[in-house]
């Protein structure tokens, strides 16, 4: 493969019609630790696995509140994520200043996607190396979006990105038909079960390395605290999605 001839910059196409630099940027997202999101008719839940660079360090936060009605979970280059986070927060503030209401979610994701695309069409720029899962509530309903370094964005019922996310997605494929009618507690337990599928054999879920954020129609964005996380992780042992089917 003569990839190296066509992958120097964003302004060179390959004969197969690919922009390799953009594809390499998507790889950066796959290197980040897993984060996932899932939604019911009233709530969106974001779950992520936090990495600890060393024993002496703290855990890297992966979820950020954008506004009362919106939050993101990141996978990839944290520094690039900070830039996008700041942009989203500024846009929400300005919208609130002008209209006294919440920024529509899809519209902000569209703006982020525009910004990302811009970086893929210049000789002097590089794409953002981060994928975002954007959870938000607006008059149109409950939303979960994924953005990519390529500038594409998609709306999902549930999605997982980052390293070993395929395992979580496989879990979702089996159970996502239950999410719409799930309670908040069931949704969080589904999220944690999906993360559990994606962790390494010698790793363990605990309240330090997992992060759960919830957002609801009447619930501003909230991080679960250490005690609540511990309780959920304990409940995880007994959690059986099959029992949810019998309820319906």
């Amino acid at each position: 493969m003569l990839k190296h001839l066509y992958d120097t910059d964003c302004v060179t196409w390959s004969p197969q019609g690919k922009l390799f630099q953009v594809e390499y940027a998507m790889e950066a997202v796959k290197q980040g630790s897993i984060c996932l999101g899932l939604k019911s008719s009233d709530y969106v839940v974001l779950c992520s696995l936090k990495r600890q660079p060393s024993e002496l360090a703290g855990y890297q936060e992966k979820q950020f509140k954008i506004d009362d009605h919106m939050a993101i979970a990141i996978a990839g280059l944290t520094a690039d994520a900070r830039v996008l986070c700041k942009y989203m927060r500024t846009e929400c503030l300005e919208y609130k200043y002008t209209y006294e209401s919440h920024h529509p979610v899809g519209r902000l994701v569209f703006k982020v996607a525009e910004k990302s695309q811009h970086k893929t069409q210049s000789g002097a720029k590089r794409p953002y190396g981060v994928g975002l899962l954007v959870a938000g509530i607006d008059p149109n309903g409950v939303h979960l979006f994924e953005t990519c370094p390529s500038g594409n964005y998609y709306e999902y019922k549930c999605q997982a990105i980052g390293s070993r996310s395929q395992a979580a997605r496989t879990y979702f494929e089996s159970w996502f038909h239950l999410f719409e009618k799930s309670t908040l507690e069931q949704l969080v337990l589904h999220g944690l079960s999906a993360i559990k599928k994606a962790i390494m054999e010698d790793e363990e879920l605990n309240e330090k390395n997992v992060e759960v954020g919830i957002l609801g129609k009447n619930q501003k964005f909230l991080h679960l605290n250490a005690q609540e996380l511990k309780d959920y992780i304990t409940k995880l042992e007994a959690f059986n999605p099959n029992s949810q089917i019998q309820q319906e």
Binding site: Y99, S101, R107
Partner: protein
């Protein structure tokens, strides 16, 4: 008002209106919001443009009316329509609510006031978005949501009528009667008022702008006919 910025090098700002619209009265009723204006634009004391529609429909469920400089009214209509149209580019079906327009106009008015170049208007935004919405934005950019609004001379002559005959749960017909009565009084007392008015209302079904109608007036009082109390200069 002279615009001679090139001559004197100094920028002049509009500080007095030229073509003006009269009072606006807006009332909330049990099913929505009702707004009434007359159809006159005055050129100072001359009743120049007598058949003007001063009620603008901004979106499916929002109306905008104002009293003051009419060219500023037309400009604001363009600005608000711009927002509604630019919402289309996002393909998400989300349109500004009446409250969004009210707040936007408040910010715009305040910004212009800070530059001592105001939009010379008392603005009224009326709409229905799950619930009734009525707000006043004045020349300074003050934003006030209210159940009834009067601008201009209506604030002086009509509040008593509204206070006695209207409540926020009355029917549409009752509210229309109150507004008609108010404009009857205004036509008698306000020198810049006109006897042709136009009503419009927004409810759950959308916006309805009615045809202009003439207020009832009575001029055949004995005092006018026989002029018994006047001393005539015939002697």
């Amino acid at each position: 008002m002279i615009f001679n910025s090139e001559i004197s090098g100094q920028q002049e700002h509009t500080t007095s209106p030229v073509v003006t619209g009269g009072s606006v009265i807006a009332l909330v009723y049990n099913g929505g919001v009702l707004v009434g204006t007359d159809t006159l634009c005055s050129y100072g004391s001359m009743a120049t443009f007598k058949n003007v529609q001063k009620i603008a429909q901004i979106s499916k469920n929002t109306i905008y009316v104002s009293s003051g400089e009419f060219s500023d009214f037309q400009q604001v209509v363009r600005e608000l329509a711009k927002i509604d149209r630019s919402a289309l580019q996002y393909d998400d079906g989300v349109h500004p609510s009446p409250k969004d327009y009210g707040n936007y106009l408040a910010r715009l008015s305040y910004k212009k006031r800070c530059k001592i170049n105001p939009l010379y208007l008392q603005n009224v935004i009326a709409g229905f978005d799950n619930d009734k919405y009525l707000a006043l934005v004045d020349i300074y950019g003050t934003y006030l949501e209210s159940k009834f609004i009067t601008t201009g001379f209506a604030s002086y002559f009509c509040k008593a009528i509204i206070s006695n005959y209207w409540n926020e749960n009355c029917s549409l017909d009752q509210a229309k009667q109150v507004i008609r009565e108010c404009f009857k009084v205004l036509f008698c007392r306000d020198c810049r008022a006109h006897d042709v008015i136009q009503l419009a209302y927004v409810d759950a079904q959308g916006t309805h702008i009615e045809e202009p109608e003439r207020v009832e007036t009575k001029w055949d009082f004995n005092g006018f006919k026989y002029r018994a109390n006047e001393k005539l200069h015939t002697q």
